[in-house]
Symmetry: C2
Subunit: 253 residues, 2 copies
């Protein structure tokens, strides 16, 4: 990665430092942070020290660096999606109790779906999502639901862009995507057998607010077998419960 | 609030802007942000614009400002407490299914307990905690458990400091706190009837990692009645399950 011009703002550099941490590597040495961000070691070291002083990063005795609890706290306590998540949670637990496997709540962010919450069974089928994880809209059942009900310009953009194949079943052509979106609007759910992993079936339904606007996708990832047919009705029922329980004020994410 | 000297760093100002948002007021006008942070309107406006450009804040059409999904994502996806939370979650769901009411997971942060997760029943008894919410250690059952097993210097500091009373039952003297902590270490749980609210009973047990170190408190908030006796055994059993399921690497928060 090229070193950035020195005119870059402190905030931009701080964001790049936060971005250096991943679910797979939540703990980094300062030298590794410098390498990943393209910052000089002295600059990275000074910024890490300042971010740690504010609690946004945390350093242990071995000077290894992590995301700080304070950053987590600031992001969570006034989270714009907290109401949606808290309202959906009991209904997600109900689905989880009945279906098992993975239950997740996703919202649109940019050109992707981001997952706000996930309940998982220890022996659940393979699943690529995690909390705060993202997936492309064309690939996941949640993404397809959000795209089917999303703004027209977003749909045009995704239809025109290349679509990454995860398996032989992933939607990768604009013709097939257009048909899938029409089906989802007509049927009220997205049914994605083996689109991301051969053995997994993703099923998603829209969650609407009181005005009928789709604000989220509720989904399950279950084994890709015929017995999984029943999940659609369960999801639709749960999504209606979330809608009824959502406060009337508009949700923004 | 007094205006800060202009020498204050951009990061310090950004943190103060994040701190202006609360669970009760997650949406603010820029003028209100300026007022709460003590920043000049022009300074607040410029910083909000830059934070929004990075997705750390979000502005809607009415120029109202919120915490951005990107901040939430950066804090969550490499969260130092994600493993603890994800491991505890199925056991919290079990407790929630059996006990109902509120089930929560708290960890020590500074001189307070911070709640990483909470499952709530729609008709649960009154509860002051929320996700990313904090409570003083002397007042809450989770705090007492974490204090009982925490570092000696923390215990000395809390014992020497004034203790805020929430009800007539809150522990407010060092003699009573010292006795309570000894009881918790002996019995293996904290039992706090009406300590924060007259009608609520908080019960908490320690969650240990594989090496026996207490890394969290698992708690319920139930009605303050005799029938609630049974929760202690349920919590202790669930906490052992979390311990057994935690990965061997040390958890840091």
């Amino acid at each position: 990665m090229a070193r950035k011009p020195t005119g870059e703002s402190v905030l931009a550099r701080a964001v790049r430092i936060f971005e250096a941490f991943t679910p797979e590597e939540p703990v980094l040495q300062v030298s590794e942070i410098a390498r990943r961000t393209g910052l000089h070691l002295a600059t990275a070291s000074r910024l890490v020290a300042e971010l740690a002083a504010h609690g946004l990063l945390a350093r242990d005795d071995d000077r290894r660096v992590r995301i700080g609890v304070r950053l987590w706290e600031l992001a969570l306590r006034a989270s714009p999606t907290a109401t949606l998540r808290d309202t959906a949670m009991p209904f997600m637990e109900d689905v989880h109790a009945v279906v098992g496997h993975h239950v997740q709540l996703g919202v649109l962010d940019g050109d992707e779906v981001i997952f706000l919450e996930r309940l998982s069974a220890p022996k659940g089928v393979i699943n690529y999502t995690r909390i705060a994880g993202r997936l492309p809209l064309h690939a996941s059942s949640s993404g397809l639901v959000l795209l089917a009900h999303g703004p027209a310009d977003l749909r045009d953009r995704i239809l025109a862009a290349p679509m990454q194949a995860y398996t032989a079943n992933t939607i990768t052509t604009s013709a097939r995507l257009r048909r899938a979106l029409a089906d989802i609007r007509k049927q009220g759910f997205a049914w994605c057998p083996g689109h991301i992993h051969e053995e997994a079936l993703g099923v998603a339904v829209p969650v609407r607010d009181a005005r009928g606007t789709v604000v989220a996708a509720l989904s399950v990832i279950v084994p890709n077998t015929a017995e999984s047919r029943a999940v659609t009705g369960i999801l639709m029922t749960a999504a209606r419960g979330v809608t009824r329980s959502l406060p009337p004020s508009p949700l923004i994410h």
